[in-house]
Amino acid sequence: MSVTHDAPIQVRNSAATAQRPAVRGWPDIDNPAAWIVAVILLIMPLIANGFFLIEIFATTLILGTIALSLMFLAGYGGMVSLMQLTIAGFCAYMVAVFGVSGNANISLGWPWWLAVPMALTLATLFGTLGGALAVRTEGIYTIMITLAIGAAFYYFTNQNWAIFNGHTGINNVATPHFWDVDWRADIPFYYVVLAIAALCYFAVDYISRAPFGLALQGVRDNPRRMAALGFNVNAHRVAAYAVASFIAGLAGVLQVWNYRQISPGSVSVGACIDILIIAVVGGITRPVGPYIGALVFVLLRTFALDFLVKIGLDGNRFRLLIGLGFLAIVFWSSDGVIGLWQRWRRSHRLQPDPAGGGRRHG
């Protein structure tokens, strides 16, 4: 039994997909909760100060977008890839290398509108090549190979001084500044991040219902049957890697603009695994899951220290808390926080709502 067989079982078990209508319009257009969340996200700068805006919400959206690319591969393609953060990190490095940064002997000094497309192209290429390698194997082997690719990249950035500047990384990366707006200032940057996260979210949601996405889900559920129907199974999988790599690359650009620097520490193996944790904790069957997971993760990372000290424990045990929480989620809910919430909602609803079940998918 491999991962590719596990995933469809999880999906079929959730009530959401069981009652999915055959034809659907835009997602969540008649769901009040989605509208409320959208409005809150839009007026966030009015509510939150700079710290919350960037450290919590922008970081959540960036990490969530990287995890979204993992969710796309795992949820729709049945391929759990641990190299999504590596692709984002590669793209971030490329932005720093082609663009303007403090390391003048490495950076080529291109303007951002040239450096970013170049970085995105290279990152997509990198992720697609890695994917082409990973699709030769299945299930657990995919996890291992993508983990090995991520680790190889991490050690390579540590050792290579010519391009990646060794373990110090590249600092003072320039951020875009045009139309008299500093796009890295807190509020504009928040809206840039929000726009790109929304774009990625709706793109994934759209692809999941487009012919390509449906074929991909078919490949996930029964590759042999899809091959018999004339679909090129491996081509679909590699194409899924290309899409996911592009999404991860976009998030990588935002990440390097956010911190204005990039170093091997941000592509470490632990960070790659954090992305998996985020996607799994949030729920790996729907695009909204990664963002929920990222919010939980960022809140924990930011406030666990204070919380632990307050209840009289050592504040450094934050990773222990994350690990135990992750274990609890994996043990009790295969569909992450969304799964828990849905189960709770189902058990509290006496009469099933005929239109309710299928609406949340997407």
């Binding site: 039994m1 491999s2 991962v3 596990d6 995933a7 759990v80 390698l133 030769r136 194997t137 299930g139 657990i140 082997y141 996890i143 291992m144 190979i145 983990l147 090995a148 690719i149 680790a151 190889a152 050690y155 390579f156 050792q159 290579n160 001084w161 010519a162 193996v269 632990g270 695994i273 998996l276 944790i277 799994v280 050592d314 450094n316 045990r317 990773r319 222990l320 994350i322 690990g323 135990l324 992750f326 274990l327 994996v330 043990f331 295969s334």
Partner: protein
């Protein structure tokens, strides 16, 4: 062997030529031109021996990993944590009692116990669910890593080599000839050779146990068809627990070896988990000879690479993995 030569004559020729070149490089006195081109022979021989002995260490870690995976289809991504745990236990024992041998025994027993607990409490509850096993063991490795960081701190530990193994030994391999015509022989740390020999013995013992004994027959049958084996009346859960204990114990022993060769610190768990992943991907999942071959290749690639192309050493390891995946996705010595 003959079948391989018959089926792949070109590959066999390449292998024979490579072996001949390697033997010549090891035993011949290098001509001056070659020394100028790629450096001193002593450096080469040291890198070679370091690579082979590192391969021995990798084999100890990877064989446990591949054994557990091969029989039980259990994906234990906490295997690196078992390695580090064994290393810390070995350090504590050897520091408090001063006995190096005892630290191996205690590390083996304690990590084997942790392995049994893992098998009984975790893996038995989620048989056949690869993805959940992966997630749970990733979660466990995070928890273990933090607990070990809590208990042992972020310091580097090195296990003391016992007195009777300290110091280099002169090997009958000529590294250079002095101007007076007197040959210079290679000097190499005795402890690394002894440990390598021990890992070879462990490997051969495992191969014999798997291929020539009844329990080995049961294990191999379990790898092929677990259900039928259970139906023939074998108490397969007991076999599982034993194999898990053995695999985990090997990781613990490897931890002590690693603590003696190199050092123990947080992060080593992930390093060795990845090393064993790459080794078993190259060698072939679930195959003990595959783990041996993969460990040798990766150890050599890492050490020779770090001497001759330091910047790209890690890329060489990775390229080997890519090449193997492209030519033989199931690994070099997998049975499929």
């Amino acid at each position: 062997m003959t079948r391989f030569v018959e089926r792949h004559p070109a590959w066999a020729l390449i292998v024979i030529i490579a072996v001949a070149v390697a033997l010549w490089l090891i035993f011949a006195v290098w001509p001056p031109g070659l020394e100028e081109a790629i450096g001193r022979k002593r450096v080469f021989l040291n890198a070679l021996f370091n690579g082979i002995t590192l391969g021995g260490l990798y084999f100890l870690v990877a064989s446990g990993f591949t054994l557990i995976f091969g029989l039980m289809r259990n994906v234990n991504l906490a295997h690196g944590s078992l390695y580090l745990f064994g290393g810390y236990v070995g350090y504590a024992i050897s520091a408090s009692t001063g006995s190096w041998i005892l630290s191996f025994i205690v590390a083996f027993i304690l990590t084997a116990l942790v392995g049994v607990l893992l098998q009984v409490l975790v893996f038995r509850r989620m048989e056949g669910q690869d993805l959940r096993q992966t997630m749970v063991t990733i979660g466990l490795s995070i928890v273990f890593a933090d607990l070990m960081l809590w208990a042992c701190g972020g310091d580097f530990y090195q296990i003391q080599t016992p007195n009777w193994l300290i110091g280099p030994i002169e090997l009958p391999l000529i590294t250079a000839v002095k101007s007076s015509g007197e040959p210079v022989y290679l000097r190499y740390p005795l402890v690394r050779l002894v440990i390598f020999l021990a890992s070879v013995i462990i490997g051969i013992a495992m191969w014999l146990a798997l291929n020539r004994t009844r329990i080995g027959m049961i294990i191999r049958a379990g790898v092929d068809d677990r259900d039928i084996l259970a139906a023939t009346g074998v108490r397969i859960q007991v076999v599982f627990v034993l194999v898990f204990a053995l695999g985990a114990g090997l990781a613990g022993i490897a931890g002590v070896v690693g603590g003696t060769f190199q050092s123990l610190s947080p992060g080593e768990d992930i390093r060795f988990l990845l090393a064993s992943l790459v080794v078993v991907i190259v060698g072939g999942m679930g195959s003990i000879p595959g783990a041996a071959l993969g460990a040798l290749i990766i150890g050599l690639a890492e050490q020779l690479g770090s001497v001759y192309i330091p910047t790209y050493a890690i890329v060489v390891t990775f390229l080997i993995m890519v090449l193997v995946l492209a030519l033989r996705p199931q690994g070099l010595l997998a049975r499929r």
